[in-house]
Structures are given as C-alpha cells and as structure tokens.
Amino acid sequence: MSKKSTHNGLFSTLIGKKMLMGVTGIFLITFLVVHCAINSLIFFNDGGELFNEGAKFMGTNVLIRIMEVVLFLGIIAHIVDALLLTLANNKTRSTGYQYQKPNANSKWYSRWMGLLGTLILMFLIVHLKDFWVPSRFTDHIAHSELEKLPGQETLFEEMKEVFENPLIVILYVASMVSLAYHLLHGFQSAFQTMGWNHPKYTPIIQKTGFWFSIIIPILFALMPIVMHLGIIK
C-alpha cells in the first residue's frame, strides 16, 4: 500500500469512540448484576438482616470502595463519549427525508438510546440523592441494627422510608422500563461493537441479552413495589 495512513491512535476515530461505549457499557452491565444481587437479599423478608449485611460489606470493603470510584469514572466516560458521538452523528445529515419509515428496518429503542440513557441518568441523580449521598456523606445510615446510634437508621429502613412515597415508586418503576429498553439494544450492541460477532455465539449473546434486559429491571422494579405495599417488612 503506497499511501501511509495518518492514524492518531485508537480513540481518534468514531469506531474507537464506539469501543469505549462498548467497554463501559459491559462494565456497567456487570455493576447491575452485583447491585441487583445484593439488593435482592431483601426478598428473604428477614427484616433486612441479610440485606444490611450485604450493604455493610459493600460499604466497608476496600476493593469495593475502589471499584466505586472506577464505576463513577465508567458512568462519566459512557455519558461523555455518548455526547461526543451524538454531536458527530448530528452533523451527518443536514437535510432530512420528507417521508421516512424507520420502523421498517430498525427497532425504535435502538434509535432512541440517547433519550433512554438520559432518562436513566435523571433517575440516577434522584437515586443517588436518596441512598448513596446519605450513606456516604452523612452519619444518618448505620451499617447494622447492632451498630445503630440514636437517630440512625439502617439502609433497609431508609429504603422503606423512601418507598413510602408513591411518586418515588412510580419514578423508579418507569425508570426500570427505560433501563430495560436501553439494555435490550445495548447488551448485544456492545458485543457487536467490540467485534465479538460469531455464528455460534452471537445467538447465545442475543438470547442472554434479551433475558438479562427483562429479568434485571423487573427485579429492581419489584423492590420499591413490595416495600411500598408492605409485603417486605
């Protein structure tokens, strides 16, 4: 090849930026697994004993605390990268079609990932304000029933309190619908972007992605519902 390419590194092109979307996306998916698994301990209906044990581990383990920082970096990278890509993509077609049938060739949620992601981000801000901020930056949350000082609550009690508000429950459930559709496209899309497309394994990835996108958001959505209804006490 006579012409030497002028390549400025992996992330200089749109494909490189897409790779970052895929890597951070898969990382955030693994976070969902951990978060959902720990929170699902409330379903044992033991007054939050097991759940508080899990919360204590997550709040005190050094490795987890380091991963917490990595997680925030991952979320920020996912958002900033998405913004950069969206800005670039918005410049590619100044004059649109007068008549278009986008549903004839693609799924709506694959085209609205940015909107679904924004809804999830808005939820995330409320969610962090409800649980993460009080447990990290105030003395309001105790690690367990035994360590509770006067005026303190366990994280389980905090959950019950927050989910007394029906509007919060509706917001949480609606946000999990956004998450489900975001994952429905994002899960398999991340693998495709990473180049992991294989005649044997891609159908397995797609099936796994489908069920993951349904089961995880349903489990998350059930948490505020059962606590609001007093099924989990």
Binding site: M1, S2, K3, K4, S5, T6, H7, G9, L10, S12, T13, L14, I15, G16, K17, K18, M19, L85, A88, N89, K91, T92, R93, S94, T95, G96, Y97, Q98, Y99, Q100, K101, P102, A104, N105, S106, K107, S110, R111, M113, H185, Q188, S189, Q192, T193, M194, G195, W196, N197, P199, T202
Partner: protein
C-alpha cells in the same frame, strides 16, 4: 395503473430543492420503477418541462447506480432489491409515492435524485485493493484458501457500493460498506499482507468523508440489496482494534 408522485426537484448542489407533485397514468404493472420514471420523463419532455434526473446504469441489480429513497426506504419497499429490480406491481393503483434522493452530507446532491457517491471511491482509493506485482499468471491453487473463508469473502465482495446503507442509517454511517470492503480482503491470505494499513486508512477516510458512527440499529443490513451481513462491521472493528494497538 395510476400514481401520484411526489418527487424531490433540485436544480443543482447549491439551489434549494422542494417536493413537486406529478400524476402519471397508463403505467403497466410489469414496468420496473426506472421504466416508470422513463415514461414520466418522456411526458415532461413532451410538455417542454425539465426531466427528472436520476442515476441508473445496468438495470439488472449489479452495478449499484440506481439510488432513490422511495416511500420512506432506500430502493423502495422490497427487501434485497435495487430500484431497477422494483416493479410497479409492488405498488397499489392510485398510490402516492414519495421519491427522494439518498440523504447524507457525504453524498451531496448533484441534481434532483442524483447524488455524488464518490466519497465511497475515495475510501476505496486509500486501501480497497491488493498490491500485486505483475508477472506470470500463477497456478490456481498456489495459495490455499479455506472454502468457508472464500465463501465469506465472496459474500462481502457482493457489495455493489450503492449507498443504501448510508441512506438508511440514522447516523448516515458507511460502516456496512467499509466493513464489507475490508472483510473481502481481510478474509483472504492475499489481503492479510496489507490488512493493518488498509483498515486504518479506510476507517480514517470514512470519518474524514463525514459519515457517522455505527449504533448497530441494523437498518443498513435490512435495506442492503445484496444482504451484506452486520458481521462484516464486527470484523472491521476487530481488524481496526488490533491494527490500532499493534
């Protein structure tokens, strides 16, 4: 058959365009879409009006020249066809048909429905080839090629470069085209020698031409007249990552 046509008319690249209504009658159901356009143009010429400019060449679905965004989709409502392979029997009598050019900033309009797709040529010029010294024709089986790989390379090479992938993509991404062109070489031993330089050059050129990124909506694969698979985009990405870090 009778049709109401709404066609994008634009004098040149700089002029503002608009949709213009035409009515056309006595169309044979077995005419191709391009033949219907020919009939319309003959009528316009008879009336002393400017005929509608549109691209066409082989009229048998192998050259990739005919474009047109018909009723909201590149090459019209059928799967796996070019516009010349689309017949008027695929429409209903009295139907309103929207006819627009392929839309992408990388494909500027030349006139009416004709767009400039030379961005694809420039991508090919930076790497869409294999450098071979001329000499004696070598023995057919001199370089062993796995049959499965040869088949995949042939599938990728069936891309006719029509640009329907770009026209259908919400980001006007050329990933399916470039993915197919990179794959057809990357899969064969002849193409491996320059694989690294090729993928870096072609991917950079794709960005430089102003095509968007791939968001894996699959619209390109669904609209491709040759059924080029999304697996070619994954292969391009793999090739790109390994070339970037090695």
């Amino acid at each position: 058959m009778k049709f109401n046509l709404k066609i994008w008319r634009q004098k040149n690249a700089q002029a503002a365009g608009k949709m213009v209504d035409y009515t056309i009658d006595n169309i044979n159901a077995d005419m191709s879409f391009l033949e219907m356009m020919d009939v319309l143009n003959e009528e316009l010429i008879r009336k002393g009006e400017e005929p509608v400019a549109f691209d066409h060449d082989c009229r048998e679905g192998i050259c990739g020249m005919c474009s047109m965004h018909i009723n909201g989709r590149p090459h019209g409502p059928l799967r796996g066809t070019t516009t010349c392979q689309l017949y008027m029997r695929n429409f209903t009598d009295g139907e309103t048909i929207y006819i627009e050019p392929f839309r992408a900033n990388a494909f500027p309009i030349i006139r009416d429905l004709v767009v400039d797709r030379s961005a694809f040529d420039r991508i090919m010029q930076v790497g869409g080839f294999v450098s071979v010294n001329t000499g004696q024709v070598q023995d057919a089986n001199n370089i062993p090629v796995v049959k499965a790989d040869a088949d995949l390379a042939m599938d990728a090479a069936s891309c006719i470069g029509c640009g329907a992938c770009v026209a259908a993509c919400k980001n006007a991404s050329a990933s399916l085209f470039v993915g197919a062109k990179i794959s057809q070489y990357a899969l064969l031993p002849q193409g491996r020698i320059e694989a690294k330089e090729r993928v870096l050059a072609m991917v950079n050129q794709m960005d430089e031409e102003g095509f968007g990124s791939c968001t894996n909506t699959g619209a390109c694969e669904a609209e491709c007249p040759k059924g080029i698979s999304l697996s070619n985009i994954a292969r391009m990405n793999r090739e790109y990552y390994s070339a970037s870090i090695s």
